[in-house]
Amino acid sequence: MAQPIVSKKTYALTFGTLLGITALTTLLGFIDMGSLNTVVAVGLAGVKACLIAGFFMHGFYESRTIRIAMIAGVAWFLIMISLTLVDYASRFW
């Protein structure tokens, strides 16, 4: 346990990128892109989440078991939301 898992430099780079994406998200938010606004906002949030989970939370460095645990929560959320929204989307077919 002598070596830290992630170097300070990586943390700093991640931090800078996160702030950059936040600024980008906010700036893009001012432009009216129709329904793309939501896609861009949530998509960039997803990128930020991956960066935080990967570097700050060491997700890119952990064992397979732990990575599966990380992905499981997200995967199950996607199951829940997609199957429910399918119902709502197909009600007016």
């Binding site: 346990m1 992630v6 300070k8 931090f15 906010t26 906002a41 935080i52 997200v74």
Partner: protein, 219 residues
């Protein structure tokens, strides 16, 4: 060197590495349950966003982007200091760990301060759902749904922030008591995981509540 092995290894484990791995796995499972907890709210949000697109975008346009963006930046900074804190723990620098934990706590408090200022402004604007709700659009009841979900989701997030502050405070106390070392600092790592997770949730809350209707914001 800190305590001897016997003191930091609980009796059900046979090696410190096993103990660390188990604790990390446990924390990640806990985070998965938290994802599902917030997931239910995100699901409700998506459904009503689909039902009432205009009202939700109008509600989002009504948010204070300056405070929201600042808060996001504050929280990202706190995640960075938390990460550095974990790093200091890993190399066994206790004073530095203390400093970063304290910084993270302060940034967390700033976030909560801004958040509650925002709540107060919503209150002044009559945006709190209930009998006194006012919204300058054709469809107040639907905007009310937006604000209700906003208050529940950010409120639950704020609750998690309070818990996080408590955890960080206990980490500081334990660090001052000399519990952590380069060999044993699992609780700091776990506290960090929790803190980062709460940050991730906010990143999504920021996107759906503040950014979606930003282009319609009236200055």
């Amino acid at each position: 060197m800190a305590e001897p092995l016997a003191l930091i290894l609980r009796e059900q484990f046979h090696a410190p590495e096993q103990q660390r791995e188990t604790a990390t796995l446990g924390m990640w499972i806990f985070i998965s349950t938290e994802i599902m907890l917030f997931g239910g709210l995100f699901l409700a949000f998506s459904v009503y966003r689909m039902y009432y697109p205009q009202a939700f975008i109008a509600g989002s346009a009504d948010m204070n982007i300056a405070l929201g963006a600042t808060n996001t930046a504050v929280l990202i900074c706190s995640s960075f200091t938390m990460a550095l804190g974990v790093h200091s723990a890993e190399v066994g620098r206790r004073k530095l760990l203390n400093l970063f934990l304290a910084l993270t706590m302060i940034l967390g408090a700033v976030f909560l301060g801004i958040k509650f200022t925002e709540y107060y402004l919503h209150y002044l604007d009559h945006r709190v759902p209930g009998p006194g709700f006012l919204f300058p659009s054709a469809d107040p009841p639907k905007a009310e749904m937006f604000f209700l979900l906003y208050f529940i989701m950010t409120g639950l997030h704020a609750l998690h922030m309070f818990v996080g502050e408590g955890i960080l405070f206990s980490m500081i106390l334990r660090n001052r008591a000399g519990s952590f070392s380069a060999e044993y600092h699992t609780p700091v790592v776990l506290a960090g995981l929790y803190w980062h997770f709460v940050d991730v949730i906010w990143v999504f809350l920021f996107a759906i509540f503040y950014i979606e209707g930003l282009h319609l914001h009236k200055w």
